[in-house]
Point group: C2
Chain length 261, copies 2
Amino acid sequence: MANSASGESIIRRFIRIISAFDDKHTSMSVAELSRRTGLPVTTTYRLVDELLLERLLERDSNGNIELGTRMWELASRGSKTQGLREAALPFMEDVQSVVQHSTTLGVLDSDEVLYIERLGSTSTIMDITKVAGRLPVHATSSGMVLLANSPSAYQDMILSRPLTKYTETTLTDPAALRRHLAEVRQRGFAAMPGVIVPESSGIAVPVYGPDNTVVAALSVVVPRDEENAAARVPLLMAAARGISRALGWRAKLKGTLRQSH
Amino acid sequence: MANSASGESIIRRFIRIISAFDDKHTSMSVAELSRRTGLPVTTTYRLVDELLLERLLERDSNGNIELGTRMWELASRGSKTQGLREAALPFMEDVQSVVQHSTTLGVLDSDEVLYIERLGSTSTIMDITKVAGRLPVHATSSGMVLLANSPSAYQDMILSRPLTKYTETTLTDPAALRRHLAEVRQRGFAAMPGVIVPESSGIAVPVYGPDNTVVAALSVVVPRDEENAAARVPLLMAAARGISRALGWRAKLKGTLRQSH
DNA sequence: CCCGGATTCCCACTCAATGGTAATCCTGCT
DNA sequence: AGCAGGATTACCATTGAGTGGGAATCCGGG
């Protein structure tokens, strides 16, 4: 053996380690960490020791390992996500104060929607989004909005892979999805009843960045039986516009309202 | 030369790299990164390449390097900070809706206050707190609350180092600070007029965790000239109690109300 | 006292990581 | 077009940081 029998770099192993933590596993023993990551026991101990030293990991009161506050700090303070989040939060509060269910802000990351902020009670069965949580593009209103405003190569990539059918109403047929995307692009919002959880509906609108591309989706989740959920669209649009403006976007002067590519 | 002439581990260098990014420097060229981190050019390129591959770093539209969304995601989803933040947010919104200036949630990290959430407009000169930003313990109301509820060894450590005097009213004398801490402990809140910025006042109260220790400080910043800022204390206390309860804290049954160290 | 798992200690091996030097690619300026 | 200055990529000889199996030790519960 030598530097990593498996040929893995330290960075990759570091990622394995921090990836072992999620909202369901916020702390664990080193041995368990070794098991979860699949790294050799000794190696795990050595690496963890160093990460503890650097405060990227910490020990809790039981001696278990958890992600260090410093880790969060370093990752947060310089990230573009932070700017987006801060710009959006006030407007999200406004929306939340009216809609009362849950309001989320999502971005596209690799092939999924990553939620970077969320307001509303956490306990609802109705809404499974979490901050720093992911959901598939094709089964969320946020995903549809983001996909509808993505380059066609990206759309093709997403639509060409197997799409999970979560409920009766989940669209999984590429052609049907494309039609739906066209609609979303034209109307400027996505409304999807019960695509991932039968009893709820998602409504999402795009948020624009300075270069007039769509950078995020603002969305609310409401009970499916709620009448005219679409009545929420103007509210959402106004909020999204506010966020966009805070991000440096300027309304188009004149001409068509269709966004570039 | 061999594995790091400077004897530095990859982890430490990785930290140097992500530390080079902050809210003022969200993206930069690799060469600049090399300069900022002090790492050899070649080494920086090699390391950055790998981090790009792992998506801990990303290239923006100009080809500059920025922190990757994945970095934020991994650091956020498993962190205890996240749980605290989520528990606190609804209550912070309530406070913010009444106080209107700015509401923050801070924790103690090494020898400073680290702010993990913040509501209110960002542009105020009055309030310099930022999410994932730090301020010194002795010059903030949050810091005083947290310090007042810390082990005395920690208090000694903080009070024994040189304390910056930001304004006329900043306390820098250890003895005076100790008296103030005793007051804070007894009253259950800290109110500090213009300790870091002359024209504003901070008011902070403790947030308790399940084991009845203080885990965070909830605070508002208001203009200093505002009459009876202390009138805000009950509001803050009620909110802090709500957060504490959401974290699993149960009110003491009976007996003294003094909290254990 | 015993048992099983977690943790720490030990150590010989070796290739991943290193960082100079030099070539190449840009980009703006003349 | 040609030039200047910086950013980026390519090359490569060198070596100690990283590795991981194994054994000893610690610890908590029954």
